[in-house]
């Protein structure tokens, strides 16, 4: 089985995240960059499939030079090899332009049976990549999987929603995006860390993918950021004075917020 796992290096959610004033894209210099945690769960799921049977796990990312740190982490967890699409022209790509790049890059890996991804990155939060990729590749996409089994050419997933659990099933090849509850990702072992630097990483530009600069990046994106404003500071909140009816007041507030 041939598995591709999509990963993304994102600004650490603990650090201050900013957009740059110039082209209104992520200001990468302003924050620490880490492998998005949901991607670790996607890698973990691929490694579980690999350990249960026989699979080759390829990491795929599109990002600048420093995305190699995120690739190395995924490789140190146990993935076999990586493809890094690194091209200035991609800078500023929206979700659809990114999906085009990734779909082409998946095509370079060979006969892929399964593409695994996180359901939503902590930075862009479009949550659409798995669906878009499925569309571009012509494969089914099972999104928000909290449980996944792959056997006999079929992927079965469970998706939990507020209404209940959906059982999803598709024949391979397929795209699956995983949710927070799917697993607990392993820590990379020292042996894994030391082995990672010897694993092959193929670096590709968009020309290698048969794409033109006009199809990607800010120029090739349908979504443009016109302006942005920082989130307003947290307000003081609402104080409930307990005059013997504190519980009822809190319940009233929660009902008002549609939380209960």
């Amino acid at each position: 089985m041939n598995i591709v796992v999509l990963i993304k290096q994102v600004p650490d959610t603990w650090s201050e995240r900013k957009l740059s004033d110039g082209d209104k894209t992520l200001d990468r210099a302003s924050s620490d960059a880490v492998l998005d945690e949901i991607n670790e769960r996607a890698v973990e799921e691929a490694l579980k499939i690999k350990e249960a049977g026989d699979a080759e796990v390829t990491i795929l990312t599109a990002g600048p030079d420093r995305a190699t740190d995120a690739i190395r982490k995924a490789l140190s967890m146990g993935a076999d090899k990586a493809v890094h699409v690194n091209d200035e022209a991609i800078h500023g790509s929206d979700a659809i332009a990114t999906a085009k790049v990734l779909a082409k890059a998946i095509g370079t890996v060979g006969d892929v049976d399964l593409v695994l991804a996180g359901n939503e990155a902590t930075d862009g939060r479009s949550g659409a990549m798995a669906g878009m990729l499925g569309e571009l590749l012509g494969w089914p996409s099972l999104t928000h999987a909290n449980e996944l089994t792959v056997e006999n050419g079929t992927a079965k997933a469970k998706r939990e929603t507020d209404e209940g659990t959906s059982d999803l099933e598709a024949s391979l090849p397929a795209v699956v995006s995983v949710g927070e509850k799917i697993n607990e990702p392993r820590y990379p072992s020292f042996k894994g860390i030391m082995a990672a630097k010897k694993k092959p990483v193929t670096t590709l530009g968009i020309a290698d993918l048969g794409l033109d600069a006009s199809e990607v990046g800010l120029a090739g994106s349908l979504v443009q950021v016109d302006s942005f404003a920082p989130r307003p500071p947290k307000s003081g909140g609402q104080k409930v004075e307990d005059e013997g009816d504190g519980g009822a007041k809190i319940a009233e507030y929660l009902v008002g917020q549609k939380l209960i």
């Binding site: 982490k73 820590y187 020292f190 042996k191 860390i193 990672a196 630097k197």
Partner: protein, 392 residues
């Protein structure tokens, strides 16, 4: 760009990508899996054995040894792991030091092939734990005066005596025990033995009522007619060279670990000073507090630089034991000073288990003494400078 308060001189910028990955792996593991439970372990004077499996699967146990299931990292990586573990608690670093630098290193360096095959792979995973018996109640800085005896009886060896202050003694499946085989030869008669702890006559008694290193189990080992086969002895080493080579490894880990403890205390003090308000403003804004913060950050970064330099010397196989003494003496001393200063910044809160500072401070009193007292390391440096041993 403003200096990072956690690494003011960007000492870690000199690390390789692989070393940084190992540092991050230990830091992530320790903060998620160990830090949340450390106060509870400390208060109840326990350390659950099951932490060994997690540490083993990460590759921490015997990480700088080659082969036999060990990760085979460089010395700098091992130092970084000690630093990040001791940033949580000295007891955790002690656990790893004893397993990797004392018990496993002794077997790896001095054991027969059969010893290595039997013990090292299981010790690397954490399935088997080891301890190291050199110190006795009446033989500390002067281990040559030990009274534990090993006598020949036919082909067998029979060991009698007692060892004191043995970390992990009550948990261990195997003890590396150093014993006098021939008192007429003085310290040259000392040899090392691989002792399975289920051998009849071997007992380990926990040392209770410790006020320091409470998230670590300490034992007295009692050996009463412990009968071992002829091949239980380390085949090729006699004299104090054997045990001292192991201590040198452990001291190396400690000089890194102390940086972690110091950093944790300083960071706790900085965070506290920023949020604690008196006279209508954060105490971090007062000059006396800023002096403390500045002195602490200098001490932490100097210790960090010392460790980094000694790591590079070790990786180049150019490290002299007196340089390890330099690091152990300087860094533990610095860490203790930082801990005491940090405690004053935290005021009354500084003496509670809610903050890490007092726990580190009491731990460091042990760290100052074990693996060569501050006094002995001073004399080791003195001897290296003058050629004159002041302790004999």
């Amino acid at each position: 760009m403003a200096p990072d308060p956690s690494d003011f001189l960007a000492v870690d910028a000199e690390l390789t990508a692989e070393e940084r990955d190992i540092r991050d792996a230990v830091r992530d593991y320790a903060s998620a899996e160990l830090a949340p439970r450390i106060s509870e372990w400390y208060e109840s004077n326990t350390l659950p054995r099951d932490i060994a499996k997690g540490l083993g699967s990460l590759g921490l146990l015997g990480m700088h040894l080659e082969g036999y299931g060990c990760a085979g990292t460089n010395a700098t990586s091992y130092g970084l792991a000690c630093r990040e573990l001791e940033a949580v608690d000295s007891g955790l670093r002690s656990f790893v030091s004893v397993q990797g630098s004392l018990a496993m290193f002794a077997i790896h360096r001095w054991g027969s092939e059969a010893h290595k095959q039997e013990w090292l792979p299981r010790m690397a995973t954490g399935e088997a734990l080891g301890c190291f018996g050199l110190t006795e109640a009446d033989a500390g800085s002067d281990p040559g005066s030990m009274r534990t005896r090993a006598r020949h009886d036919g082909d067998d060896w029979v060991l009698d005596g007692a060892k004191m202050w043995i970390t992990n003694g009550t948990l261990a499946e195997v003890a590396v025990v150093w014993a006098q085989t021939d008192p007429d030869q003085g310290s040259k008669g000392i040899r090392g033995f691989v002792v399975p702890t289920d051998t009849p006559g071997f007992t380990a008694n926990e040392v209770k009522h410790k006020l320091s290193l409470r998230a670590s189990l300490t034992a007295e080992l009692v050996l009463e007619g412990v009968r071992l086969p002829a091949d239980a002895v380390f085949p090729e080493v006699t004299g104090l060279k054997g045990p001292l080579s192991c201590l040198n490894e452990a001291r190396y880990g400690i000089l890194w670990g102390a940086v972690g403890a110091a950093r944790a205390c300083y960071e706790a003090a900085l965070a506290y000073a920023m949020s604690r308000e008196q006279f209508g403003r954060p105490i971090a804004g007062f000059q006396l507090t800023q002096r403390k913060l500045a002195e602490m950050v200098v001490a932490v970064n100097q210790a960090s630089l010392t460790a980094a330099r000694i790591g590079r010397l070790k990786d180049a196989h150019e490290l002299h034991p007196a340089q390890v003494s330099f690091g152990k003496m300087a860094n533990v001393h610095a860490a203790l000073d930082v801990a005491r200063t940090a405690r004053t910044v935290l005021g009354g809160n500084g003496i509670t288990l809610e903050y890490p500072v007092f726990r580190h401070m009491t731990n460091l009193e042990t760290v100052l003494t074990y693996e060569g007292t501050e006094e002995m390391h001073t004399l080791s440096i003195g001897q290296a400078l003058t050629g004159l041993p002041a302790f004999r």
